[in-house]
Amino acid sequence: MKILLINGSPKTKQSASAALLDDCKACFSRETEWRERHAARPVFSPEDAAALSWADGVVFVFPLYVDGIPSHLLSWLRQAERSGSIRPQTRIYGMVNSGFFEGEQNALALAMLKSWSRHAGAVWGQGLGIGGGGALTAIASVPLGKGPKRDLGRALGDLVRHIETGASAEERYVHVNFPRFLYIWSAQMGWRSQAKKNGLTRRDLDRRQ
């Protein structure tokens, strides 16, 4: 099985999408042949087209932006659709993470990716919506299936099995195994510490410009 992984984060390092891709790759069996492309800009290249034509399955991993697909990736997808480079039986899978705690908040982005797969003439495989994405880079070294990555490990293990067998399944939603109030508290501490590093005070976060 030839699997193309598409990192749809605009960030070149320290992204939740890259952390999820690392976990995904660790789940692949030795027989699975995979390649990776980074769709960080709204540019669809001939190399992207060749990679799409090569793949039996394509896995998109990206962050939720304003309840949907980030615009640079949306533009990339539109160009990919028009390029006609996807083979008809290619299976499409999606992993979307958001800073919100509830994995279900990624459902609309997955529905849009599913719609794209139909327009591109491909077959929808499965979507996985992941909540608590703000914690994923901090817990990147935690083994999949353990502690805060317990539910993620189970869902990702199932997803990888579907990817490797070319199967389709229902969408699934998980979040980091962490109490929500603690997640919110630590996220807000994160914003404050980021502001401080930028020479701002806590009050400055309320600015209306």
């Binding site: 605009p10 309840d67 533009s75 539109r78 908040q105 609309l108 849009m112 976060l205 309320d206 410009q209």
Partner: protein
């Protein structure tokens, strides 16, 4: 003030009264996910182009109107780009709304949120688009929201938005 965000040329927007239009008049940079609009220059996007103050403009409107081609059940890449660059409209801190995690408001305006989609759509895409507008309205803490689908690919024929 009514703020219109659209992928159409300005002359196709038949609104009257106090109105500001954000349209595809110049090229737009994509969001780079840096959160600078929350923690570096709160309220304003750090990327320098004509779209860096959209969050503030949304904060001044009492009606936000989106006119967009419906693409895969969502907005067109241009309209989505404008919205992605305007998350400073909301505050980085969180609150619980309807049992789910959302962002706190930054501004005191309570706006009516209206979306007009044009272009060919499937029933599933229209369902996704309706849910999208509702989800956006919830995240923007809007006072009301409404979705209209304009028939066909030529919205010019629809004179009464």
């Amino acid at each position: 003030m009514t703020l219109v965000i659209t992928d159409l040329e300005r002359q196709w927007i038949p609104f009257e009264g106090e109105i500001e239009v954000i349209g595809p008049d110049s090229s737009i940079l994509p969001c780079i996910g840096c959160f600078g609009c929350w923690t570096k220059t709160p309220g304003k996007c750090i990327l320098k182009d004509a779209f860096c103050e959209t969050g503030q403009k949304i904060g001044r409107c009492d009606r936000l109107v989106i006119v967009s081609e419906c693409v895969y059940g969502g907005y067109s890449p241009f309209v989505k780009n404008v919205l992605d660059r305007a998350i400073s409209y909301i505050h980085p801190y969180f609150c619980i709304r309807g049992g789910q995690m959302h962002h706190r408001p930054r501004y005191a305006n309570a706006m009516d949120f209206q979306v007009y989609f044009y272009g060919d759509t499937t029933p599933q895409e229209r369902e996704t688009a309706r849910k999208l507008a509702a989800a956006n309205a919830l995240n923007y803490d809007a006072k009301s929201h409404a979705v209209t689908f304009l028939e066909g690919r030529n919205p010019q024929a629809e004179a009464s938005l």
